[in-house]
Amino acid sequence: MTPILTTRPRKVDVATVELRFSALPAHVRTARLVAAAVARRSGVDEAVLDEVRLAVGEACSRAVHLHRRFCPDRPVTVTLVDDPEAFRVVVADEAPVDDGTDEGDLADLTDLTDLSGGAADLDDVVPPGVGLAVIAGLVDDVTVEQGGPGGAQGMTVRMSWPTKV
């Protein structure tokens, strides 16, 4: 599957709404709700709001998972931008990316459907990268860049949806 990792320079995002939340699973729902509310206000089609919710949730879940593992004291940052032609979402984490478990490549989803695994993997059956793969399946305009807020550590997931003229 094609990697969506890019190395293009980071753009400066002027936030309409910015969220910084502790890396707790409970806050992912909050991020979804806020993203959907801002998307609706920005003019994203109602029929697409479910996709916004799911994609933002997947990006935030991935970031929370990595922060809890590597840097639990650092917040996850979500930037929501209401551009004239698009609603843009930027989810940035600060976790190290060189651990070999999640390098921004899309997971091979056959990993998830491979039922041959033994009891050892029953408790952690979502392979790294499945969240990004779901995002790529949902969102036409998505990129993943190395580097998080203020440094080389972490990754930044950028997504956008068109808004009504």
């Binding site: 699973p25 409970a26 992912v28 729902r29 979804r32 479910d50 919710r53 799911l54 949730g57 997947e58 879940s61 929370v64 998972h65 989803l109 056959t110 998830l112 459907t113 039922l115 695994g117 009891a119 029953l122 408790d123 952690d124 059956v125 979502v126 499945v130 969240g131 793969a133 779901v134 399946g137 949902l138």
Partner: protein, 113 residues
């Protein structure tokens, strides 16, 4: 909306009715429910997702884990779902080929193993 879970038995099938949101926060409760059922010897499960408002990849992982558990006992895990927004994530991940997905609990209960 938080996660709601209830179970009932129909013949040799155990119906797990799930409502609300299955995500990174609530999925552990669903996992615990499925683990408990298998520990109790319930190996033929029907997960009714008609009242699920939201499902993400963490929730999918729990369902795959449940399927692996029941299959280890020659059991089955069938889903009931007609909501397009939920079915979409099963299609994206290829899991429509892994889970039998039915349009009603009756259909799932009466499906031949």
């Amino acid at each position: 909306m938080d996660l709601s879970l209830s179970t009932r038995t129909e013949g040799d099938r155990t119906i797990v009715e799930v409502g609300g949101e299955i995500d990174v926060y609530t999925a552990p409760r669903l996992r615990e429910q499925l683990v408990d059922l298998v520990a109790d010897g319930k190996y033929h499960l029907v997960v009714d997702m008609e009242r699920v408002d939201f499902l993400d990849s963490t929730g999918l992982g729990v369902l795959v884990g449940g399927l692996k558990r029941v299959r280890a006992h020659d059991g089955s895990l069938r889903l009931v779902c007609t909501q397009e927004r939920i079915l979409k994530i099963f299609r994206i991940t290829g899991l429509t080929k892994v889970f039998p997905i039915h349009s009603s609990v009756d259909e799932a209960v009466n499906a031949a193993e």
